[in-house]
Amino acid sequence: MDTGEKLRRGGGRLCCICNDRRAALKRPKTLQQICRECFYAVFEEEIHQVIIKNQLFKPGERIAIGASGGKDSTVLAYVLSELNKRYSYGLDLFLLSIDEGITGYRDDSLETVKRNELQYGLPLKIISYKDLYGWTMDEIVKMIGLKNNCTFCGVFRRQALDRGAALLKVDKVATGHNADDIAETVLLNILRGDIARLSRCTSITTGEDGPIPRCKPFKYTYEKEIVMYAYFKKLDYFSTECIYSPNAYRGFAREFIKDLERIRPRAILDIIKSGEDFRISTSTKMPEQGTCERCGYISSQKWCKACVLLEGLNRGMPKLGIGRTRGMSSDQMKNPKPTGAAKNIESKQCGSLDF
């Protein structure tokens, strides 16, 4: 609306941090007008502080960065390798990518990750659904159509990431979930009545009792700032939407958060703060964790979700494990209504935050 005005006003204004260079951007988180160099500095420093304060990494650890080739994981890989050098974290960093086998989407984004491997000098490991499960997403979609396909993809990815991490023998996986993602998850868990997930979804490290913990160094980093950082740094990332879930970013909750951010940028941080402060009894029951009798992966049931889904695929009964079977309530919740409704409340069926 006021690009002209902004140009005029911003034209001569100095960066309010260094008071030296000309302001080049309005910082989405605080609306401060600052220069590019100061933006890089505060952006990186905030992430460094998050890492230090939450003791995300210990010296000598092997860390896998979940790399999709998208903006979040690309910026994460870049920033982590920078900070690792600058502050001598002493980490061995790796890129870990999952090849779901989606032609026209993942094959292209994997090219980006392969370039990142060279650009940042981080070794890359690619785990494919085909190798792990014998099915590509293309084949799965051919069989089951475009309903519930995100359930398969999400369940399979969660396990694939863990198996890849085990192969790399890493101590931890870092993912690129940003503040907007976490705020959205908090809201969604309220909207869905999922108190157990509500209590967990704001923790910066999850799965500490499991084999390989995961952490989110971008927990307090705004999506807009990540885009801005990638844009100014001219980072090489891939920005096409998944062809099987093209409208994944247009959920009600996501739009609501964007609207909130317009009125009050701080709202995203406030939602996360609320999520952290909620008075939830620690006695909230968690499903007992066991191991899958078939593949040995962690599971609360006899078979893990991936094995149930896989069994359905292999027996030609792909509906197995999907839909209104009470015992599978946790994953049923993720896809509340696979109807033809134009919009869902949720934006990302894939890449859910819960591990």
Partner: protein, 464 residues
């Protein structure tokens, strides 16, 4: 686990069933079996005699499945259940209904009246007249001083309507308190108006201004109640309203204090607040107003673009997409731990019949033993998280200063960001609010006593 057996009657695979009863919300406790047919035949799912009444709206809450009579009794049932199961109103109480003129508080007034009317009939019929009838008063807050100058005529008309609504209710008569919000200040009416304007104008954030007005409204209710001997304040907060509050508190970073505001009872005030319409949807209340011709008054207060208005639009959209969404939101937030003050304080007065005290003791919520001495934000009166309080104390040199004791949300959206303007702002706050701030939330001795009760040998402190 999964009901794969053919004998399973739970109906979870019958897709058609769900489509036929879109109003089957989570809160509804309709019989599970056999109502599919009744609905398609257009008969009430409860009495199976009368036809379902339709109002065009349909699909929301319990309407569209009930006949008018069952709808009414179901809604009143939810209200009465909230009252009795939380010991909200005892026969000795004097109840003040906060009436805004909107449908929710109109229904609250009607239902409280119905209950009082029944109690009076029982009283008249009983021989020993041991159970007194609780008293009812009505409060209306005139906020015209806080909004843009609208014509006095509109407010005069509204007040006239309200008077007639209260008058038309059958006896026992109810006292009506009409209170202009600026009367929180001392001085003549011009002074009052100016001071209120100044304090509101100092709040630059529109959401903050709206919320501040809400806090002042609560102060007014407390003032009316305590000055006129009321023992309960009835609010018309319905599920829809509360679900919006859940989201807005979350968005404002008030996750810690959120459970304090959304329970049936909120006794952190001198006169406890009760929310008997907590389980009723706004659609249902609107419907009842239309059905029974209950007159409501829409006041022409301006609506501005705030976080709160954005949230009501969002929740309305979600509710449209799924008619049980609002109930789910309130149910989720209901699982957060309430505070010690979210129950009616136990009656110690020996003049109150023993039966009443016993009933109250039985129905009150049980706390899991944690003794709590909360600190409250002097602005919005929300409990402050202990860790946040620690940070505050560490940061500020004088932790006694007003702004240092406020919660982070109020500091951001209500208090002036410029510290030099703080003093001005503080001096313009209503004396009642300031008085609260200077009182240093002492621990409630009676609640402390309750915890050591079993170990005390003497009955009262005086005997020592």
């Amino acid at each position: 686990m999964a009901c794969n057996g053919s004998a399973c009657q739970s109906g979870c695979y019958r897709d058609g069933y769900e489509a036929a009863t879109p109003g089957d919300g989570a809160a509804a406790t309709a019989p599970d079996n056999g109502n599919g047919n009744a609905t398609t035949n257009g008969l009430c799912v409860k009495c199976k005699v009368n036809e379902v009444f339709s109002d065009g709206g349909g699909g929301a809450g319990d309407d569209g499945r009930f006949c008018a009579e069952c709808f009414r009794s179901n809604l009143f049932g939810k209200f009465r259940h909230a009252i009795t199961s939380n010991a909200m109103i005892a026969p000795t109480d004097n109840v003040l209904v906060a009436f805004s003129g909107g449908p929710a508080s109109r229904v609250a007034l009607q239902f409280v009246h119905d209950m009082q009317y029944k109690a009076q009939k029982n009283f008249d019929a009983s021989r020993d007249r041991s159970l007194p009838v609780f008293g009812v008063g009505v409060a209306f807050i005139d906020e015209s001083a806080a909004s843009a100058p609208s014509s006095d005529k509109v407010m005069d008309m509204a007040i006239k309507d309200i008077k007639s609504i209260v008058l038309e209710l059958a006896p026992p008569t109810k006292e009506l308190h009409i209170f202009s919000i600026e009367r929180l200040y001392l001085g003549d009416s011009n002074d009052q108006r100016n001071k209120l304007k100044e304090v509101l104008d100092a709040v630059t954030d529109p959401t903050g201004k709206e919320d501040l007005l809400g806090h002042l409204r609560m102060l007014v209710l407390q003032k009316i109640a305590s000055e006129n001997g009321y023992t309960r304040v009835v609010l018309g907060s319905c599920t829809s309203r509360i679900s919006c509050h859940v989201i807005s508190a979350t968005v404002k970073g008030r996750g810690y204090s959120l459970p304090a505001d959304i329970q049936y009872v909120d006794a952190r005030w001198e006169v406890p607040l009760v929310l008997p319409l907590r389980d009723c949807l706004a659609q249902e209340l609107n419907m009842l107003c239309r059905l029974d011709g209950l007159k409501t008054i829409g006041l022409p207060y301006e609506t501005c673009h705030t976080i709160n208005s954005l949230i009501s639009t969002f929740v309305a959209l979600l509710q449209e997409e799924n008619p049980s969404r609002e109930s789910t939101i309130v149910r989720t937030a209901g699982k957060l731990n309430p505070f010690a003050f979210n129950r009616i304080p136990e009656i110690k007065d020996i003049n109150v019949p023993l039966a009443t005290r016993r009933r109250q003791k039985r129905s009150n919520i049980k706390l899991n033993g944690s003794i709590s001495s909360e600190s409250f934000c002097p602005m919005c009166y929300c409990p402050i998280m202990p860790t946040e309080l620690g940070i505050l104390k560490a940061q500020e040199v004088s932790s006694d200063s007003f702004d240092a004791s406020c919660c982070s949300s109020c500091r951001f959206q209500i208090l002036p960001q410029d510290p030099t303007r703080m003093e001005d702002f503080y001096s313009n706050l209503p004396p009642l609010l300031v008085a609260r701030a200077t009182r240093r939330n002492p621990p409630d001795p009676s609640s402390l006593r309750e915890h050591i009760q079993d170990y005390l040998l003497l009955d009262s402190e005086n005997e020592e």
